[in-house]
Amino acid sequence: MTTLAELIRQGRPAPDHRPWPRATVDAERWRLAGQRLAEGDWTLLSLWGEAAAAHMALRDPQEGMIAVLSLDCTDRRFPSIGALHAPAIRLERTMNDLFGLAPQGAADERPWLDHGRWGHGHPLGDRSEAAAARPYEFLAAEGEGLHQIPVGPVHAGIIEPGHFRFTANGEAVVRLEQRLGYTHKGIDGLMMGADLERAAKLAGRVSGDSTVAYALAFARAAEAALEIAPPARAVWLRALMAEMERLANHFGDIGAICNDASFSVMQAHCQTLREQVLRAANTGFGHRLMRDRILPGGVAADLGSDGIAAIRALVAEARRQFPTLIKLYDNSASLQDRTVSTGVVKPELARRFGCGGYIGRASGRDFDTRRSLPYAPYDQLAFEVTVLTEGDVNARVWIRIREVEQSLALIEQILDRLPAGELRTALPGAGGEGMAMVEGFRGDILAWLRLGADGKVARCHLRDPSWFQWPLLEAAIEGNIVADFPLCNKSFNCSYSGHDL
């Protein structure tokens, strides 16, 4: 059987692609990779387009190898991977929307991000005339007693916009179909031609709750492309920010999940903890969400003694309060009644979709970028990755609880060992291709970047973990009652903005 390494060797290598290899292959080998994905041997990390090429990032877990396969599409067509491997479908629909690259043999030819409102089709390829706006055809679900419940794009709470189409039989959900793309801001297009500074800011605004993780992924991809290394102090400060971000989001979400089960006392306590994290971040880094603090080459601001004191006080406070909250969660039967065995994601499905983050780890997928593809300083830090197999709302809450504990321990380790020194390395104005993966609070974020010889962005692709999580929500809700949807949805907390880009 052909290995990923062999496929790469058989192709035409891209000389400046780092740290993992990239090679252009023929259509037959492209299809072969699709088969290996379908057989479950490899994991799809992402799929994206350019004006006349398609790219696919793959991971072979047995070999421990990552590589990018490219295919020239001068005729703007490529063999569909989605026809073989469902996780690719939405990514392919997006490639077609943005670049006019048509997946041959695709089962689903509906547009995805393009709602017919941009004034023209294929904004990043050969712009076509705007197609007459057609009504979006939802998948059919037929049978006696079935009825549809349309929800959104404007939801009842303070949340992002998207559309959910439920088909229900009484209270039981028979099918959920998502329609996303409402928050499409055209970030891929805005990136093209941007200098690194502007591009880093754009990356930090892909998904507000993961602004640190995105800025980090982008910076690492840029540094890989330019073959530079940021100073040690910057590397450790970045990890500190990333763990603070994880903490803030987990606190917020644990509270919000309980609140959706009408257990608001948890919400009040968790929100208080979240606010304390943001205030410590503000003291330490000058911004509550730590936005624009990570740049290619290093970090934008140093952490002073005030900041260190504030973060230490935060950790002490969280260590004091959090255990009581866990007990409260664990001992409240009325709460457990809502979360246990609700919204189950089967391990097999999580594996097939390469689903990252707490959703994957609650469904048996033992993958955490910080440990599976370790990057500094995590290779020098002690932490555990918890994995459960139940795959229900309860399991996702418990994974997050464990991650809070680990993040607190990581923050202490980082503060204890924070090296002194420079904050930023100068950037050479050169070209190159780089790729990076980092663990955001929601899961693995992939950044791929090509810099032109002028040092500006020729193409940047950022893949949110939600791409492989949203489809699983459709599966998780099946057979549950409509009233449990908010609980399932909140326990996933997929990103709209990160996905829609």
Binding site: R117, P161, K185, G186, D209, S495, S497
Partner: protein, 175 residues
């Protein structure tokens, strides 16, 4: 469970009264907001939040207004689920073309008199996302705006200040 509830009773409210500079500012705001809200409205104000393509950063800080430190509801300000219950639309994001219709329809569904507050740099002029094919570039490109609150994202304190400014406006358009 009872332990925690009991502890909370004994511990008292977290809602901020005084010492540090930031806390003092908050207490002052609380007083100012209460005064003007009473004067202008003599009742509560209902806010409907609409994400018109934000990165979600603005939503995170709007959410924070409800935490025990800021406790928005003590000022008579509250978030409601339907535009039909709202006096104020609080809109974020650069208004993506894909959200334009939904935003306009939500506006039309809100009864008069109504105010529109655009929160965040994106909502002002599209922010970092201005100039692309996918965004209108600011809320006022789609619906009339009464007040902008800057910031990326605006902090909860900035949001509170903005809401006070709204209540203090002398000329309130009556539509």
């Amino acid at each position: 469970m009872h332990r925690i509830l009991f502890d909370n009773l004994v511990k008292g409210a977290l809602t901020e009264p005084a010492p540090e500079p930031e806390d003092a500012a908050l207490a002052e705001l609380a007083a100012a907001l209460q005064r003007s809200a009473r004067r202008k409205l003599g009742r509560s104000l209902s806010i409907r939040e609409i994400d018109a393509g934000s990165c979600n950063g603005c939503e995170l800080e709007i959410h924070a207004l409800g935490n025990p430190f800021y406790d928005l509801e003590r000022f008579g300000l509250r978030f409601v689920a339907s535009p039909r219950h709202a006096d104020v639309l609080l809109v974020t994001g650069p208004v993506t073309r894909n959200m334009q219709t939904a935003l306009e329809r939500t506006y039309r569904a809100t009864p008069d008199p109504k105010w529109v507050v655009a929160a965040g740099d994106c909502a002002l002029d599209g922010g970092m996302f201005a100039g692309g094919y996918a965004c209108l570039g600011g809320v006022s490109a789609a619906i009339p705006v009464d007040l902008h609150i800057r910031g990326c994202p605006p902090s909860p304190l900035q949001l509170l200040k903005g809401l006070i400014a709204l209540l203090d406006m002398d000329k309130v358009r009556n539509r």
